[in-house]
Subunit: 236 residues, 2 copies
């Protein structure tokens, strides 16, 4: 084991103003897309770039616990959609009155409309029984996988591709449909397709479900509950 | 509730080639920084931009379950470091022989060296007892918080700022040090500081701990285990 692989330490300063703004634009304009998918198929090389971006994510102990199942087949996506519908009926039961009416009017999935589905999974056995950094937090492997998801999502925004995260399903239904081993966690089903329009704010805010919280209320200085004097720009 | 807030649907195509490359450069060159932190303090407006990037993350049911505790005080960071050391001694016990020697030589934290610590937490009660999209996967709130982490991490890369994720601690130790309520999950402690050099590959790979897995082995087509014909560029 090398102690100091110095020849691999390379210059890494701040990006140019334009590059920095591109990164922030991806972060700021990314949306959880439900309905704006175009039917055009995605080229192979674009899909490969999105998956490479995901695979560039950090992972606890470098275990890289993720897998990506790329699903184009319409019958298979239809079966996933039916699993979603069963779970969604159960979810709607959790709300009552006007809130349930609102819930039923939301378009919660683009499983059938998006030309591509990507099922992202986490294999907790990937790095052997002891993983560096996971001993005190057994969820670190799934957290690594979510970092891969967010990489893919931001890369997709830059490519003009929308992504929608579907979490309303029973894991066993999705495992059965895609042949996923029982010990592997299904992190999410992602609807993926070209978009030419996106909402300028989160859809749930625009549709009155829940509004954005003021960032000042979420940031503390030194200890929980103490304000931080930071220059937040309310416009961004 | 509005059914179709069309005036909020705005044009959102692909970025320019240069902008797209900036996003991919942030994703590709981001590192989990352990030791390269410079002591220079971070300006308030830069910290605010990083936190705004985090707050732009997707969240299940738009619950925005995250909080960010910005810790600059040296004595407090020293106390966090001591909590890390206690946990790290326990973690080292999980390895034996040469593997334990390797573990002990890794620099696993920059808690004292980085001028700033950010503790990121997840409050599962933020959105009330029933959260849209969380019913079938109770971990969706912490996954949303991890999306915020990855946003912050990529924004930091573009700003010339390094980030290191520390997961080796007992949650109760960190809660006690920072006054975090018991029902709130500590997602991670993040060491944050300017960097002018970064490794050109993940540090754990360079130091022989574990190598990058071939992406072809992690991507399947249609069902688990079936190869996907995608044009992966092995150089990226």
């Amino acid at each position: 084991m090398q102690d100091e692989p110095n020849e691999h330490l390379v210059r890494a300063g701040a990006f140019s103003v334009e590059e920095r703004e591109a990164v922030y634009r991806a972060i700021r304009t990314r949306r959880d897309v439900r309905d704006q998918f175009l039917p055009d198929p995605l080229p192979e090389d674009l899909i490969a770039r999105l998956l490479q971006a995901a695979h560039s994510a950090p992972s606890v102990g470098f275990m890289q616990p993720w897998n990506f199942l790329v699903v184009r087949d319409q019958a298979r996506r239809e079966a996933v959609w039916q699993a979603f519908c069963r779970a969604n009926d159960e979810a709607a039961e959790m709300f009552s009155g006007e809130r349930r009416d609102s819930y039923m009017r939301l378009k919660l999935e683009g499983i059938r409309k998006a030309p591509l589905g990507i099922c992202v999974t986490c294999d907790p056995t990937r790095g052997g029984p002891v993983v560096l950094g996971r001993t005190h937090n057994p969820r670190m492997d799934s957290y690594s996988t979510v970092c891969a998801v967010q990489n893919l999502w931001l890369a997709a925004r830059a490519e003009g591709v929308g992504v929608g995260w579907v979490s309303i399903f029973h894991q066993d239904d999705i495992r059965a449909l895609l042949g996923i081993p029982e010990h592997v966690e299904v992190i999410g089903w992602f609807c993926v397709g070209y978009v030419d329009r996106l909402y300028d704010q989160p859809e749930l805010a625009l549709k009155g479900w829940r509004q954005r919280l003021p960032i000042e209320d979420l940031v503390f200085g030194e200890v929980w509950g103490a304000p931080l004097s930071a220059a937040f720009d309310r416009e961004t």
